[in-house]
């Protein structure tokens, strides 16, 4: 496994498997590391008003260049107890419903929404099944298309399948340089397709999960560079680069009328993957 202290290489020379390892590096900045560097006066809100508060999903209110914004993001932990508390970044239905609360509030108070994606996937154990993890993720996607405010999404680590898209319907979607976005973990893909987990490297390539591939396929709007040595080596530098991209995107989106925003959001996802 490549160690992460090495100098940041240009995107093109980094292989997909290496990117997967970097995206999972526990020293990478997580959602709250970014939130506290990007937004001023952030107030975290808790609970889905139905059954609980999910530590794997962070939502709240903050300011960006003095403009109020709603923030939603998946949160991982570093120590053993933090990891448990954050459920390894795997949000449960109550997490997605807390996120939905924040989205609806963003709509009601006309604040743009920023979502930070970093999850290996949504939680799918018995409790999550029993509280409707599928329904929660489906509802969030539908709801995001109806939001009359700009939405900017950034993959800051792992873009793990349905867990990611449950907060990932953005007018602009970006990926940081050392992150991946995939419908399945390469290890599971290799095991299912080739009955051989040691083929994970090959699966990572085949899945086209890197930011460069997502860009070429027209599925994201841009790649956010990371400081030399990667985001994990320089939190402030990484946050600055993310912040600049979000500010720029919101500047583009702010003038658009709500109906125009929703129309182009629908059209954007409508066109994705269409064969030439």
């Amino acid at each position: 496994m490549p160690k992460t202290e090495q100098r940041s290489q240009p995107q093109a020379t980094r292989d997909p498997w290496e990117i997967v390892q970097l995206a999972r590096d526990p020293q990478r900045p997580y959602t709250l590391d970014y939130v506290n560097r990007i937004f001023e006066r952030f107030v975290e809100l808790h609970g889905d008003r139905r059954c609980g508060d999910d530590g794997a999903m962070v939502v709240g209110m903050g300011f960006l260049e003095d403009q109020p914004v709603a923030v939603v993001g998946q949160q991982k932990g570093r120590t053993a107890s933090e990891r448990r508390e954050r459920n390894f970044g795997m949000a449960r239905p109550e997490g997605y419903r807390k996120a939905l609360r924040m989205m609806e509030m963003a709509a009601r108070f006309e604040r743009p929404l920023v979502t930070l994606i970093d999850t290996p996937g949504a939680d799918c154990l018995e409790d999550s099944e029993g509280r409707g993890i599928s329904e929660a993720i489906a509802c969030n996607q539908r709801a995001m298309f109806a939001l009359p405010v700009p939405i900017v999404s950034v993959v800051i680590g792992e873009g793990g399948s349905g867990g990611a898209i449950g907060i990932g319907v953005g007018d602009r979607v970006y990926m940081q340089e050392n992150t991946y976005y995939s419908v399945i973990m390469p290890e599971a893909c290799a095991a299912i397709l080739w009955r051989d987990p040691s083929q994970s490297v090959r699966a990572a390539e085949a899945l086209k999960l890197s930011p460069g591939d997502a860009m070429r396929l027209g599925l994201i709007d841009g790649i956010i560079a990371e400081p030399g040595g990667g985001a994990q080596a320089d939190y402030d530098g990484a946050a600055n680069l993310v912040r600049t991209q979000i500010v720029g995107a919101l500047e583009e989106l702010r003038p658009l009328a709500p109906e125009e925003l929703k129309r182009s959001r629908y059209q954007k996802f409508r066109e994705m993957g269409k064969p030439e």
Binding site: G121, A122, C124, L125, E126, S128, E129, G130, R131, G132, I133, S134, E135, I137, A138, C139, Q141, R142, M144, F145, A146, S161, G162, A164, I165, G166, G168, V169, Y181, S182, V183, I184, E187, A188, C189, A191, I192, L193, P197, A206, L207, K208, L209, A214, L217, L219, Y266, F269, R270, M272, G273, K274, P275
Partner: protein, 285 residues
């Protein structure tokens, strides 16, 4: 959540013989009687996985079936290893263009859009074509002010299309949102089995959600659970569990599906009731 490659329950081509074996309890069943029972095993109650043609026979008014959107190109956006061949083989094996059939049918006189997924085509998984057909169907029905009934059966998002497959989830959710805004009925019927990217998108967004008794379903597919060694009891991934937990409106036996749909459509279809006499469409098969 992707389960694309898994041929769930291997639908082998069974010769249209006199006898058919129940794949659950291995009881030999007299084909005529089995068909008359809508392919529900008389011994153990297992609801056999149906082909599109069989499904249509259980719900559609006679002569009312008109297929739509069967002419989309094969999609292999990632040029995934061995995938194109797999698609060609699936087409040959099943005679279907992709893992979902879409069209218009009448149910008790109600003309509605219908989607029917088929497990036999790469595990009923959702890639671009499946997402596109579902979306086209819904958009067409919004335009023509019709309801939609979706029969879901899927291993999940198709992993050979990775992120393109994942993006079919928001696309179909957005389309359902258009139906909701147009105040048109959208009913889903979850059949054995429904997993992953389909459950977490258009399957669980029904105004009314039905599930056939005994159907397997869940967010994570069985192969993913097996590989990641997650501890999920088999009884969790069932229609019955989802029903007990309030995620499904009705658990139905197959013999009740059609009548239930008629009742629901009577209630849901907007005025003036959009009725067409049956017999106007083209028959399938």
């Amino acid at each position: 959540m992707a389960q694309g490659d898994v041929t769930l329950g291997s639908l082998e081509d069974i010769p249209a013989d006199l006898w058919e074996e129940c794949s659950a309890c291995h009881q030999l069943l007299y084909s005529r009687e089995f068909e008359a029972a809508l392919w529900v095993c008389s011994k153990c109650g297992y609801h056999k996985r149906l082909t599109v043609e069989q499904r249509l026979a259980t719900v559609a008014d006679e002569g009312s079936v008109q297929e739509l959107f069967a002419d989309l190109p094969l999609a292999d956006p990632l040029r995934f290893p061995e995938y194109h061949e797999k698609l060609e083989q699936a087409r040959q094996k099943t005679g279907m263009d992709e893992a979902v059939w879409t069209g218009l049918v009448s149910i008790g006189g109600h003309r509605v859009g219908m989607g029917i997924m088929d497990l036999a085509f790469i595990g009923g998984s959702m890639g671009w074509v499946v997402g596109e057909k579902v979306t086209l169907l819904i958009e067409r029905c919004v335009e023509e002010r019709r309801g939609v009934v979706m029969f879901c059966a899927s291993g999940g998002a198709r992993m050979q299309e990775s992120l393109v497959a994942l993006m079919q989830m928001p696309k179909t959710c957005a389309a359902v949102g258009q139906m909701n805004q147009a105040r048109l009925p959208y009913i889903t019927v979850l059949t054995d089995p429904t997993y992953g990217g389909v459950t977490a998108s258009f399957a669980f967004l029904g105004d009314v959600i039905l599930a056939e008794k005994g159907a397997a379903m869940g967010f994570a597919g069985p192969r993913v659970i097996q590989i990641t060694k997650m501890k999920i009891a088999p009884e969790v991934q069932t229609a019955e569990f989802q029903y007990e937990h309030g995620m499904i409106d009705l658990l139905v036996g197959r013999e009740q599906v059609r009548d239930t749909l008629v009742d629901l459509l009577e209630w849901l279809v907007p005025h003036p009731v959009d009725r067409q006499s049956s017999g106007s469409g083209v028959s399938v098969g």
